[in-house]
Each structure stands twice: as structure tokens, then as C-alpha cells.
């Protein structure tokens, strides 16, 4: 028996297991570079990605103002056969404390309805992939940003391995904003997502702006203009509802004493209304589960005392 047990344990340890890191992805989230290297996996299993990674801001980056940072990933079909890819926007490559929010940035939009530094594409159709984040810096000066990727590969000698790649440092200069230049209030947070069938009221707070026009565009690229009405420092307009799950983009054109200012395109994702249960009912049901299964075990266990007395009675009768 003992030999069989040892044999069983040894055999179970020798069974080769196919292990692959997060084949379904981990979902959009705030992640350090460490996740790309060893998120629920062994970093030693990683292969080096041959993708070319670049990053650039579109225009001048003013302090306290939204800035569009576009990353470009090329070589997707020529270097690796990729189904899905995860992209990181990082402020360092220390493997911890790498999220841009730890280096004086705010992530206003990740382009996918959230404010994450890590996003995933579930399918890749072309050889070049561009993706934009909207960031806002609260400090003046030079800052570094990095782009990093992790993905799989369906072909080649390392097929099935997790691939990881990180770019060089890209320097971004955050400049002080000229006085009286019309601008968005530094505390303004754009809406990122909404339910399908709901319109969105934009209330854009500005400084030194004499007129604001809102523009929005469909996924097809067709652009529309919306007139705004001013109330105090808030410029109001209503973005129309979406009929299906989709992403529209909007931006503001600000008139004032200085040259015309145009904000980056902000993404607004329309999603199906999320599932939600009554929180109190769920908590009560959890307690009910605990009590029910505890009671079930006690009630279904044979009663020792009755058993003993029956046994004594039988023994006495004999």
C-alpha cells in the first residue's frame, strides 16, 4: 500500500503540464511593468518581443492640460503571429511604481472607457497598431514615458511562450501654460463611459475662454459640431445617445485672447447596462448559506446518543 502511494505521488509529479501565462489576458487595469514580466507566471519563461515600439505626444504638453500620447507598435504580423496584445504605458521600468500616476501624471482616458495604463486588444488586424492615452501632468519639467507590450506567438520556435518587450525612454517636456491662454479647468474630468441608450450632458469648465464649440465623431470618422451654452464657467452641450455598444470621440475648440486651442479627442465608450444585484439581499443570502449548510451538516449527522441507547437496549435484551 505504501509503495503504491509513493508511486502515485511520483507519477502525479511527473505528469507534464502545459503551462501558459494568462492566455485570456488580465483585462484593462493599472499595472506595473512587473505584470508584463511575471504576472502570475515565471519571468524566466518570457521570450523577447521583436515588435518596434514608439511613443509621441501630439503637440505641446501644457501643465494641467490634457495631452494626447500616442503609442505605435509595428511588426505585428511580420515579427510575430499575434492574436491579442497587451500594451503598457509606463513612467519607469523599475517593475514597481511604474504607473504614470506615480510620476505626476493623471490618466484622463485610456481610449477604452477607463483610466488604466494597461490595455488589451483582443484581436490584431494589421501590421501597425496605434493607441492613444489622454494624460495630464501636474508638474512642469522633463518626464520620461515608456511603452511596453506582452503577447503570445502562434508560430516560430518560441510558439506558446509569453513575449515581453519594453521601449527606450521617451522624453516629454511639460511646459508652463501662458497666462490668459484659454484652457480647460485643470480639475476637469471627462466622462469615459456610459450606458447604451443614454445621452451625455457635457459641462466643460474652462478658464479665459470666450467661446467653446464641441465636436464629436462617429467610429466611421464622420464629424459633427455642437453649439454650447455658457452657464458660469461651464460650457454645456449634449452628446447624442448610442444605439449599440460603440465608442465615439469628442473634443472642444476654445476661443479666447490667445490662439485657438483644441483639446485632444476624448473617448466615450457606450456599454450595455451592467448587471447589478441588491447588495443587502446578496449579503443576507451569504449569511443564509452559511447558516443553512452549517445546520444541514448538524441535522443530517446521526445522533450518537440515540444510537448508544439503542445499542445498550439491544445488548441488554440479548
Amino acid at each position: 500500500m505504501k509503495r503504491k502511494l509513493v508511486l502515485l505521488i511520483v507519477l502525479s509529479l511527473l505528469v507534464p503540464l502545459h503551462v501558459s501565462g494568462n492566455p485570456g489576458g488580465v483585462g484593462n487595469s493599472l499595472e506595473n511593468m512587473q505584470c508584463g514580466g511575471a504576472c502570475h507566471g515565471d519571468a524566466n519563461q518570457n521570450a523577447t518581443s521583436n515588435l518596434q515600439l514608439s511613443l509621441q505626444p501630439s503637440g505641446t504638453v501644457w501643465v494641467g492640460q490634457p495631452a494626447e500620447i500616442t503609442v505605435q507598435i509595428s511588426g505585428l504580423q511580420s515579427s510575430h503571429a499575434i492574436d491579442q496584445i497587451g500594451i503598457f504605458l509606463l513612467s519607469s521600468t523599475n517593475a514597481n511604481g511604474d504607473i504614470p500616476t506615480t510620476d505626476g501624471w493623471s490618466i484622463l482616458s485610456d481610449g477604452m472607457g477607463g483610466s488604466n495604463n494597461y490595455i488589451e486588444y483582443s484581436s490584431v488586424d494589421s501590421g501597425v497598431l496605434s493607441h492613444s492615452w489622454i494624460l495630464r501632468s501636474d508638474e512642469i519639467g522633463e518626464k520620461n514615458l515608456y511603452v511596453s507590450v506582452h503577447h503570445g506567438d502562434n508560430s516560430g520556435t518560441d510558439a506558446g511562450s509569453p513575449f515581453f518587450g519594453v521601449s527606450q525612454a521617451f522624453s516629454i517636456t511639460v511646459e508652463p501654460i501662458p497666462e490668459n491662454l484659454q484652457r480647460i479647468d485643470p480639475d476637469y474630468e471627462p466622462p469615459r463611459s456610459r450606458d447604451v441608450g443614454e445621452s451625455t450632458n457635457i459641462c466643460l469648465e474652462t478658464i479665459a475662454a470666450s467661446n467653446v464649440v464641441l465636436e464629436w465623431r462617429e467610429p466611421s470618422g464622420q464629424t459633427y459640431q455642437l453649439e454650447t451654452t455658457q452657464k458660469d464657467q461651464c460650457w454645456k452641450a449634449e452628446l447624442p445617445e448610442a444605439l449599440t455598444e460603440s465608442t465615439i470621440e469628442w473634443r472642444a475648440v476654445l476661443e479666447g485672447e490667445g490662439p485657438q486651442q483644441t483639446t485632444p479627442w476624448f473617448s466615450l465608450v457606450s456599454v450595455k447596462p451592467s448587471w447589478e444585484a441588491d447588495e443587502t439581499a446578496l449579503q443576507l443570502q451569504s449569511i443564509a448559506h452559511l447558516a443553512f449548510f452549517f445546520g444541514l451538516v448538524l441535522l443530517l449527522q446521526p445522533s450518537r446518543r440515540k444510537h448508544d441507547e439503542f445499542k445498550e437496549y439491544v445488548e441488554e435484551s440479548i
Partner: protein, 183 residues
């Protein structure tokens, strides 16, 4: 300061490891019982199963609380998270019952198949809970063949949960009083 998500991973691994060991020992104990073999392994399996179950049960509240804390919007916003919560409390209830009955057992008495089955069932609940966690964080787990636990939750209205709690307490009290009268 440890983030709640990290703390949840630590406590979950404690719970899963302990319950898995307990489940294995309950199963082996039943096998020995079934073979009707007197073996020195039997008391060893019995003791190990219950000690591991106790350790897992002690870690469970930390896992549940840190899990709720690390979810950005709460367990009530996803059927998968709701099922995780319900399964873990069901497993916790079973484990508590198994430990309580074992504690109340006479010294010369031994757990039987039903007792071991409840212990193994509590392990199954915990492993399924952990597997759902894998589905939630990585969209990948060993329970891909159970799509209904990811998309649907059998939710009771609050009043029905209260009725269930009241009924089970009443049943336990009646059993207790009948035992006292019997003496």
C-alpha cells in the same frame, strides 16, 4: 502597506491549500473506511483533514473581506463575484458544521462516509470559488466547462434569506431541545 488585492491572493492561497489538503484526507479516509481496513493512516487522515479544515476556515474571513475590498465595484456588480461569495460562504458553513460535529463526537467514535462527504463538498466549494477567481482576473480557469456559474446567479429575495436563517435556527433548537428531553 499591502494592497487588498495582494492580501487577497495570500489569504486565498492559504484557504485553497488548506482546504485541498483537507479534501484529500477526507477522501482517503473514506477509501480506508470503504475497504474496511484497520490502518494507522486512518486516524492520521482524520486528524490532518480536520486540522487543515480548521486552518482554512480561520483564513476564510480574511479572504472574503479582502476579496470584497479589492473588488472596485463590489460583489453585487458581477454574477461571477456574487457566485464566488455565495460558494465561499456555503463552503464555510459546511466546514464549520463538519468541525463542530467532529468536536462533539465521542472519543471512541469515528467519522463516517457522510461526514467525509460533507468535508469533501466544502473543499469542492472552495476550489470552485478559487477557480472562479481565476476566471475573473485572467479570463481563464479549469472550470470553463461550467458557463452558468459565470453568467447566472440564483438570488433569493431578502425575506426568503431571513426565512431560511430562521428555519434552520428553529430546526437546530428543536433538535437540541429534543436531545435534552431524551436525557
Amino acid at each position: 502597506m499591502i494592497e487588498s488585492a495582494t492580501f487577497h491572493v495570500m489569504t486565498t492561497e492559504l484557504v485553497v491549500g488548506s482546504f485541498a489538503l483537507a479534501g484529500l484526507c477526507f477522501f482517503l479516509h473514506s477509501v480506508f473506511l470503504f475497504l474496511n481496513k484497520e490502518s494507522k493512516f486512518m486516524p492520521m487522515m482524520d486528524t490532518t483533514a480536520h486540522v487543515a479544515l480548521l486552518f482554512g476556515l480561520l483564513s476564510l474571513p480574511f479572504a472574503i473581506l479582502s476579496g470584497i475590498e479589492s473588488s472596485p465595484s463590489g460583489a453585487h456588480t458581477s454574477p461571477l463575484l456574487a457566485n464566488k461569495m455565495l460558494l465561499s460562504t456555503a463552503g464555510g458553513g459546511l466546514a464549520l458544521g463538519v468541525l463542530y460535529t467532529r468536536w462533539k463526537m465521542h472519543e471512541d467514535d469515528r467519522p463516517h462516509h457522510l461526514h467525509n462527504a460533507f468535508g469533501s463538498l466544502s473543499t469542492a466549494c472552495m476550489l470552485l470559488t478559487a477557480s472562479l477567481g481565476g476566471t475573473y482576473t485572467r479570463a481563464d480557469s479549469l472550470t470553463e466547462f461550467l458557463p452558468f456559474v459565470k453568467e447566472n446567479t440564483l438570488l433569493l429575495p431578502s425575506w426568503l434569506s431571513i426565512v431560511v436563517i430562521a428555519l434552520i435556527l428553529a430546526a437546530l433548537l428543536m433538535r437540541q431541545s429534543s436531545t435534552v428531553q431524551h436525557r
